[in-house]
């Protein structure tokens, strides 16, 4: 799709196309080097070597030790393992968990499930930019708190949290600190030691790697229980036959990010800021969601008065632009995004939200195209809504 004419894919936060370099690295591992990492003969050991090499490559990006990385199938699985695994293994220490109000649904739902099992959960509010206050975390920590889990960068509004400060507080209080870095990993520098992180979630398909591979960094000595029991793969923490092709692809994707990150970040920030400035300047009654500076290099999120977001997404799709919205109309529950609600947007404001997320194959001409198409789309939809004309 990406290479076809007139398709401008601006939903990199949802998923990304696999980089051809990644695909090439993966291919031999399907039919040639297909062995099971648990097998003792050559084929198996070849797969095992590829797995361990991948672990090393990936751990290096976040300055972790290779043995501190567990591979899983998705960020959702990693987040489930982090929350439930730590909760279940540390029950004797306490039953209190702290998260923010703007976590990804897989953290929100895991916390809700733990509440049903008798754990207590505090959900820390955020300010209008989506920032969690480290002081609020400090205040919320109790004697029986076992885990703090805060998303590194918001998948919706792109706000980057003061992870280092939060980590420092948790370390001082003797509480495990987990961060969901699905959106930030590979895009901005992460150092699990300098940032005082005990557990970290990252995913392959958000960084031009394949779907089906993700990781959980677990600091040495962390008490955690597995969710999947079986053959004892991944140091007994995640039984399942290892998905070698996907993990090898994940490692290649990481290598590319590591090499290109500094330059790519600068390029994306320039394009993102052109997009934001262009939209706010060209479209009346448009507003930026999230923090103006402390945001992911590839995230732009807006709300527009008197238009509904799903209709914007459909209208843009007809012009070849792929985008997403936090409007209730596009959700399965018919509720507005909990993140937009948490930053104080009213229902009707979240109703008009639009998220555009950039990535590796977005060029300046694509941004120019959006800046041409989007204002016209909003104008047309406002005409249909009728509300706008009278004001």
């Amino acid at each position: 799709m990406i290479n076809k004419k007139h398709i401008v894919y601006l939903d990199y936060a949802a998923t990304t196309p696999v980089d051809p370099r990644v695909l090439k690295t993966m291919l031999p591992f399907f039919s040639e080097k297909f062995g099971n990492t648990m097998s003792l003969y050559g084929l198996g050991q070849e797969a095992k070597a590829a797995l361990e090499e991948s672990r090393e490559t990936i751990s290096d990006l976040i300055k972790a030790k290779p043995e501190e990385i567990i591979f899983t199938s998705s960020a959702t699985e990693s987040n489930n393992l982090a929350l439930k695994g730590v909760a279940l293994a540390n029950k004797n220490k306490g039953g209190h968990i702290i998260i923010s109000q703007i976590e990804h649904p897989c953290v929100m739902e895991s916390a809700k499930w733990l509440e049903k099992q008798g754990f207590q959960v505090s959900r820390i509010p955020v300010d209008k930019y989506g920032l969690v206050g480290p002081e609020d975390i400090k205040k919320a920590i109790r004697k029986d708190t076992i885990l703090v889990s805060i998303i590194h960068a918001s998948n919706e509004i792109g706000t980057i949290q003061p992870i280092k400060e939060i980590g420092k507080i948790c370390r001082k209080e003797g509480v495990y600190f987990h961060t969901d870095a699905a959106q930030s990993f590979g895009k901005i520098p992460i150092d699990v030691n300098k940032m005082n992180i005990d557990l970290l979630t990252a995913s392959s398909h958000k960084i031009c790697g394949p779907k089906g591979a993700a990781l959980l960094f677990i600091r040495e000595g962390t008490r955690i229980a597995p969710l999947l029991h079986g053959g004892g793969q991944e140091m007994g923490l995640r039984s399942s036959t290892i998905n070698v092709p996907a993990i090898v692809g994940f490692a290649k994707a990481v290598k590319i990010c590591q090499k290109e990150m500094a330059k790519e970040t600068q390029r994306l920030i320039k394009l993102r800021d052109k997009l934001i400035k262009g939209i706010l300047g060209k479209i009346e009654d448009s507003y930026l969601n999230g923090h103006p500076e402390k945001r992911l290099p590839n995230n732009a999120n807006f709300w527009f008065k008197f238009v509904e977001g799903e209709s914007i997404v459909i209208q843009l799709d007809l012009s070849g632009i792929s985008a997403s919205t936090g409007s209730a109309c596009s959700s399965a529950k018919l509720e507005p995004s909990h993140v937009l609600s948490a930053i104080g947007l009213k229902h009707q404001e979240a109703h008009g939200s639009l998220r555009l997320t950039l990535g590796r194959w977005i060029k300046e001409k694509d941004i120019d195209y959006v800046l041409k198409v989007l204002p016209e789309a909003i104008k047309r939809l406002r005409k249909i809504s009728g509300v706008y004309e009278k004001l």
């Binding site: 509904e308 799903e310 109309c329 399965a332 018919l334 249909i384 809504s385 509300v387």
Partner: protein, 132 residues
């Protein structure tokens, strides 16, 4: 199993080229409805003409702040109503609207309720004004 596209061709057509949107001056009935769940808003205007004993809906227009399905169902209900008598129009329900569009995703069926409600509210308003 065959999979349908999210929106039918007809839905997209009515969304991209709605022929019945816009304000109506001197409307005989106006229906204002909102969907409390998703937040969509709809306004439907009717113009009624008496032909003998029959009251015919001569013209119908809408304004809708909502998703593609809400816009398409608004336009569709207008198409269905135009030229019908008030009595006939009251018989039109959301299923006719969905049928007219081919299909709607399950989650969007409530948008066709809004179209039905908008139409009935406009007729109610018309009847009320008549009594005055």
């Amino acid at each position: 199993m065959t999979t349908k596209p999210y929106y039918s061709k007809k839905t997209i057509e009515h969304f991209t080229h709605p022929e019945n949107f816009g304000e109506m001056k001197n409307a005989d009935g106006i229906g204002k409805v909102g969907n409390p769940r998703c937040g969509d808003l709809m306004k439907l205007y009717i113009k009624v003409e008496k032909k003998g004993r029959k009251e015919i809906i001569k013209d119908v227009r809408f304004h809708t702040l909502g998703c593609a399905a809400a816009i398409a169902t608004s336009d569709m209900v207008c198409d269905l109503v135009k030229g019908k008598s008030v009595k006939e129009a009251l018989k039109i329900n959301y299923k006719d609207v969905v049928k007219g569009l081919g299909h709607l995703p399950e989650i969007k069926i409530h948008c066709s309720f809004l179209a039905q409600q908008g139409l009935r509210a406009a007729i109610e308003d018309y009847e009320k004004r008549k009594k005055k």
